[in-house]
Symmetry: C2
Subunit: 190 residues, 2 copies
């Protein structure tokens, strides 16, 4: 069983085996090498990708600075949801931090899932609300927490990530400089 199947089962509860198979077979295995791009800013994000193994980073470039919005490790999706659904150019660039295996589905195939799997709409809704909730929490963290508190919260929930990706990407995603990140980190290690 692939991670993708496990993901769907664990997040969406009981789905008929046949439905599960139908969904999964619409996703195609692809790989992307370290440094390569899954999406470039300004392009339409025409696929939804699930990370089987590896790491992707989604970021925007502002005045020569890269702002990391999201890091997708195995078990996460990577896409510009807004671009994918509304078929508009993306603000984001998605790049592989290491060689990465993906299950990708094109927008075209994605639209078909609903026809094959009636329950899909419900699953999709749950997925979207989950994404919404994650962002809601992040907004809240910026309204009510210090850099240190954001660090701790993220660290508790994503310990593994800290030995997998360059830390300045995490710093950027948490809205602080690498220096601040480093100082907080030192403090927490004592």
């Amino acid at each position: 069983m692939t991670e993708l199947e496990q993901y769907i089962k664990s997040y969406f509860g009981i789905v008929a085996i046949d439905d599960l198979k139908t969904i999964v077979t619409l996703f195609k295995t692809t790989t992307i090498k370290r440094g390569e791009f899954l999406l470039k800013s300004g392009k339409y994000c025409n696929k939804l990708s699930f990370v089987q193994s590896g790491l992707l980073r989604m970021f925007a470039t502002i005045d020569d600075k890269e702002v990391t919005q999201w890091i997708s490790t195995n078990g996460y999706f990577a896409t510009d949801l807004s671009s994918f659904i509304f078929e508009k150019p993306s603000r984001w660039t998605i790049q592989a931090l290491v060689d990465t295996e993906l299950y990708s589905i094109t927008k075209e195939d994605y639209k078909k899932i609903g026809n094959f799997v009636p329950k899909w709409n419900e699953l999709e809704k749950l997925f979207l609300v989950r994404c919404f909730t994650i962002l809601e929490d992040r907004v809240f963290s910026h309204l009510s927490m210090t850099a240190e508190e954001r660090y701790n919260l993220f660290f508790e929930n994503n310990k593994e990530l800290f030995n997998q990706v360059p830390l300045h990407y995490i710093a950027s995603m948490l809205g602080m400089t690498p220096e601040t990140f480093s100082r907080i980190r030192k403090k927490q290690l004592l």
Copy 2:
């Protein structure tokens, strides 16, 4: 035609008149007086409300401080989406800033819409992605902008709000103190 009908038409494009009527009749008119609560933190948010007129503020209380997450004015929805969909206790409190007219639908009735209006799933999806995108933009604003830039961006898109609600609520929602808000405001008015 109510604002709710207009909202659905303008945001979701052509919907059959019958479908529109079906959806709208499931929403019940209610009013809520200044200071009253639509939702209290810890309770399950069992309805989705559309603001016909008035103002609602969604906030959480942390260490005696209120953190404003969202202000719903006419033409916006007010709900804890996560609580509403997953039927879990809410972190948020929603309070009326002035006497407010709502169109509200219960979770129970909400579930039925799909049966009556086949196209509903598609509309719902677009709605959710729109909500997602708004939050994504807010996260990005905290990762890449100063308080002043956030102020300006929000002001450009929400001028009307500035003469409708106490400004310290807007300040809180933008992640700054009332004092900082006031100083930036003074600067921009010159």
